[in-house]
């Protein structure tokens, strides 16, 4: 993009409008887009102020607090002010890491999230491709059904799915002839049930986004390829896949983040983490520790662990984005 020196503010001496004639006030770096308003020192910060205040107060500060609490002894006694808070160092983390349940929950979280991500991506992409191959009416039907699933609040989706699979009154067991098999009783069947619900409500995002991406590929490119005699498969592999890569990265990362943080579904469908905590994931585990048993420090330590894991995912994402040369 070319630069457009402003005719109003700080007109460049002499050569007005000459490309690249950057006035001294502008940062030396050649700017990509230079709207007339862009040399106004404080204006962008003024625009950013509300957002930054909100984020600092309700995101950054709580993160700092989370870290702090994870190093303290903080239980009901300290919350009510009955006892002074004491610094524990890494004590809470030591407690956590020596607890075999934590490792079990961590493993379950990772595996469960991975299963959710993979199934969401596979189903979402497959259906996006399917959408490109069918006529308007069936496409509208599938799109509307998917939007319905997408729009359904997590809590209602959870209750409906539990009801569908209810051993006594649900239609699923009846159709499958499973009798009074209880899905939420076993560990794996309970996770499978939650996975189905998560898949149901999150594949639409992938499907719609990837579909929009396929539609955005310029027709000329594909036509040229097919005129040159490229096969369908080749067009897919060498043209569409690379062009869809940015979109695929976005949906993958978003899915990882969402599925790693599943809370409502597990909480509602397995009644707070399943029998004897067999269906706990980190999120629910932290919540139970903090709010159910008032071990706020342990809950915070789990929160910090989650934060670190998700931060790592983010860094990988940033690297991928940067490697593609996309400008931020």
């Amino acid at each position: 993009m070319t630069t457009h020196p402003s005719p109003l503010k700080a007109p460049p001496p002499g050569a007005a409008g000459a490309g690249g004639a950057t006035p001294a006030a502008r940062p030396p770096r050649r700017t990509r887009s230079a709207s007339p308003a862009n040399r106004s020192g404080w204006t962008p910060w003024l625009y950013l102020l509300p957002a930054l205040v909100l984020l600092a107060g309700l995101l950054v500060y709580p993160i700092y607090q989370l870290g702090l609490i994870s190093f303290l002894e903080y239980t009901q006694a300290q919350v009510s002010g009955g006892e002074p808070t004491t610094f524990q160092g890494f004590g809470n983390y030591a407690t956590l890491f020596n607890d075999s349940q934590f490792w079990q929950v961590l493993l379950a979280t990772v595996l469960f999230a991975a299963a959710c991500v993979v199934s969401t991506l596979v189903v979402g992409c497959a259906l996006a491709v399917l959408l490109t191959r069918i006529r308007a009416l069936p496409r509208l039907a599938l799109m509307m059904a998917a939007l319905g699933a997408w729009a359904t609040p997590a809590i209602t989706g959870s209750t409906v799915w539990v009801f569908l699979f209810d051993p006594d009154f649900g239609p699923v067991n009846k159709v499958l002839g499973l009798g009074d098999f209880s899905w939420t009783y076993g560990r794996y069947s309970a996770f499978a049930l939650v996975l189905l619900e998560v898949l149901w409500c999150s594949f639409p995002f992938v499907m719609v986004t990837v579909y929009a991406g396929i539609r955005a590929i310029p027709t000329e490119v594909l036509e040229a390829a097919s005129l040159d005699g490229a096969s369908q498969w080749r067009i897919w592999r060498t043209i569409m896949a690379p062009m869809l890569k940015p979109i695929l990265i976005v949906v993958t990362i978003q899915s990882i983040i969402w599925d790693f943080k599943v809370f409502t579904q597990i909480y509602v469908m397995t009644n707070g983490g399943g029998i004897a905590g067999q269906n706990l994931v980190l999120n629910v585990y932290a919540y139970q520790k903090a709010f159910a048993s008032s071990q706020y420090s342990l809950g915070s330590a789990i929160g910090v662990v989650m934060l670190v894991i998700l931060l790592a995912v983010t860094l990988v994402y940033l690297r991928l984005v940067r490697r593609q040369g996309e400008e931020l």
Binding site: P50, V160, D168, F169, T219, S300, L307
Partner: protein, 298 residues
Amino acid sequence: MSATTGSAVRTRPGGGGGVRALLRVKRPGRLAAEAAALLIAVAVAFPLYWMVLSAFKPAGEIQSTDARPWTLAPSLDSFRRVFEQQDFGRYFLNSLLVAGTVVILSALVAFLAATAVTRFRFRFRTTLLIMFLVAQMVPVEALAIPLFFLMRDFGQLNTLGSLILPHLAFSLPFAIWMLRGFVKAVPEALEEAAYIDGASRTRFLWQILFPLVFPGLVATSVFSFITTWNDFLFAKSFIISDTSQSTLPMALLVFFKPDENDWGGIMAASTVMTIPVLVFFVLVQRRLVSGLGGAVKD
């Protein structure tokens, strides 16, 4: 039917018509694909159908072990129970108030911020952008603990404010990130023309840029509306004693009972809770799809 390609061209000029023409498989294959799509659509819609159906079923039929996919005697009993027993209307209004406030405020704040990071060059711009990206990844559930203490210190527990404020902050990073593409898409020539014609910066911002970016704001709002409307964790943790400040998800939980769940009530409450979101989605559906395309393509 030969109208297919035509309609595709109509919905998105210069877009997918050709793609589909290229990808179009032979007729039997396409029919199979269409049959599969319809089957999948039915399967995907089924849970919602079952929810609404169960909400209208009379109590006896819900508790029957013979789960029939229809009802011959629809009744409003479950809905009546929902609205009479629980102060459901109140919860509904609370939910609407919280989600509505978050949507409007976050749209305005995000619009300003997105304008700042796309139409200005300044120091730390890239750093800020990366921070917005990172902020999206923060597991907000983990922040329930510190936010709980923060809200307590500010005396906000048991108020709707304790739900509005956190959601406002959480929806911002994503909203800014998404709006970026829309703001960027507005040609700079337009901005120059406005200034040449003597428009002030404020005037340009609200009278020219804002209307142009509005479709993007709609797409973004869907996300903040849904996350706020769906919120279960904060409503559960922050509204501890004053149930008059509760939101819909909490009201729903009342129908879960240790011995016997009131499935009719749960399904009726779920229906009431889902309909507004569905309506919202259908209304903005087209803008949402193109908005996602725009944001991602960017």
